[in-house]
C-alpha cells in the first residue's frame, strides 16, 4: 500500500447493507418462522390446524403488507446468506473473485427477481 496510490471507493456498502438488513430480519423473525412453519404447524402445537392452509396463505400473499413481508423475508435472507457464504469462502482460501461473487450474489439476485415476479402475479 502506497500513500500515493489512488484508492477506489469500495462498493461493499450495497452488499453489506443488504447483508445487515437480512441479518436483522433473520434475527428478529427467523426463529419464529422456523417454529411456526417447521414445528408448530406440522406437529399441531399451539396454532389452529388451518393456520397455514392454502386459502389463508394465498390471502396473506395477496395483501400488500403480506406481499411485502414475504418479499423482504425471502430477498433479504438470500442476500444475507450470499454475503456470508462469499466471505466464508474467502476465509477458507477460495478467492475466485468475480466467479464467487456471481455465484453467491447471483443466486440472491435471481431469488429476489423470482420472488418479486411470483408475488406480484398473485
Amino acid at each position: 500500500m502506497k500513500n500515493t496510490k489512488i484508492r477506489k471507493r469500495s462498493n461493499a456498502p450495497i452488499f453489506w447493507g443488504l447483508f445487515g438488513g437480512g441479518g436483522m430480519l433473520a434475527a428478529l423473525f427467523g426463529p419464529m418462522l422456523v417454529f411456526i412453519t417447521g414445528l408448530a404447524i406440522p406437529l399441531g402445537l399451539l396454532l389452529p390446524a388451518d393456520t397455514m392452509s392454502y386459502a389463508k396463505m394465498l390471502a396473506f400473499a395477496q395483501n400488500i403488507l403480506g406481499k411485502g413481508f414475504i418479499f423482504a423475508v425471502i430477498a433479504l435472507f438470500m442476500w444475507h446468506a450470499a454475503h456470508r457464504i462469499f466471505h466464508s469462502l474467502h476465509e477458507f482460501g477460495v478467492h475466485a473473485g468475480t466467479g464467487c461473487k456471481l455465484l453467491t450474489y447471483g443466486v440472491a439476485f435471481v431469488s429476489t427477481i423470482v420472488a418479486a415476479v411470483i408475488l406480484l402475479g398473485l
Binding site: N3, R9, P13
Partner: protein
C-alpha cells in the same frame, strides 16, 4: 546451577537473510526462574548460546510495543508472557505472522508505517484557531468517545492476529483504523472526510469479516474490532448520502 534448576525448551524460528533460503527452527534449553518472561528467555539465549539471535525490545513492561511475537502461535508481547506458564512443555517463539521477516524475530513494519501515516493520526483542526481563543474545551462524554483508542502502542499484535490482513496485505488493518477512529471521534478534529477516503476504499473497513481476534490479543485493551465495525456504518452512510451532502468523503 543447582539441581533444582528448572530448564525449559525454547524453540525459536531463526532466519538469517544472508545465509538462509527460508526460516528454520532451533531449540535451546534455557534455565529459568519463575519471574522470567519469554523476552528474558530470548535474552538468555542471546547472552549464552548465540549472540546473533535478533529480536526487538525496549521497555520490558508492556509500554513500548516492541517485543511482539508469536508465542505458541498466539500473538503476544514477550515481556509480559512468562516462561513458567508454559513449563514443562516446550515453548515455540516465531516472528509475528502476516509480516515479512527481516531477521529471526524481527519483522518488516514498513507496510504498517505507511498505513499508519495514511490515516493521518493527528488532529486536523476544523478551522484555524488563534491563541486568543484559548484552549479547546472538551466534556467528559466527548473525551469518553475516543479515550480507549489512545491506548494503542502500535505493537501490531492485532495485525498478526487478523486473518484478513493475512489474506490481503493492503488492508489498512485494525490498529490504523482504530487510530483513525480515535481522531475522527475527537471533538477537536475535522479530518473525517479526509480519512473516509481511505476507510471507504477497497483497502478499507469492508475487508474485515468481524472475527474479533484483533481485540482479543490487544495487550492494552483497545477494541480495534469495534472501531472497524463502527466505521463500516460510517462508510455506508457516506456511500449512500454522499450525493446529498457536500461533505461526502471519497471520490
Amino acid at each position: 546451577m543447582s539441581d533444582t534448576q528448572k530448564i525449559i525448551e525454547i524453540e525459536v524460528l531463526r532466519y538469517n537473510p544472508e545465509s538462509d533460503q527460508e526460516p528454520h527452527s532451533q531449540v535451546y534449553k534455557v534455565p529459568f526462574t519463575d519471574d522470567m518472561s519469554v523476552l528474558q528467555g530470548a535474552q538468555y539465549i542471546k547472552d549464552n548460546f548465540d549472540g546473533s539471535l535478533t529480536y526487538r525490545w525496549s521497555c520490558r513492561m508492556a509500554i513500548c510495543g516492541s517485543c511482539g511475537m508469536m508465542i505458541n502461535g498466539v500473538p503476544k508481547l514477550s515481556c509480559e508472557t512468562f516462561l513458567r506458564d508454559y513449563y514443562p512443555n516446550r515453548i515455540r517463539i516465531e516472528a509475528m505472522a502476516h509480516f515479512p521477516i527481516e531477521k529471526d524475530l524481527v519483522v518488516d513494519l514498513s507496510g504498517f508505517m505507511e498505513k499508519l501515516e495514511a490515516i493521518q493520526p493527528y488532529i486536523i483542526p476544523k478551522e484555524p484557531r488563534t491563541l486568543e481563543q484559548g484552549e479547546y474545551i472538551q466534556t467528559p462524554s466527548q473525551f469518553a468517545e475516543f479515550i480507549q483508542y489512545t491506548s494503542c502502542i502500535n505493537c501490531t499484535l492485532c495485525y498478526a492476529a487478523c486473518p484478513q490482513v493475512g489474506l490481503n496485505p493492503d488492508f489498512i488493518g485494525p490498529a490504523a483504523i482504530a487510530l483513525a477512529h480515535r481522531y475522527n471521534m475527537d471533538s477537536r478534529d475535522g479530518g473525517q472526510a479526509q480519512r473516509m477516503e481511505l476507510l471507504a476504499s477497497e483497502d478499507g473497513v469492508y475487508n474485515c469479516s468481524a472475527v474479533g481476534y484483533c481485540s482479543e490479543v490487544c495487550p492494552k485493551h483497545v477494541d480495534p474490532g469495534n472501531a472497524v465495525n463502527v466505521n463500516k456504518i460510517h462508510a455506508a452512510k457516506d456511500y449512500f448520502l454522499r450525493f446529498l451532502s457536500p461533505k461526502g468523503g471519497s471520490k
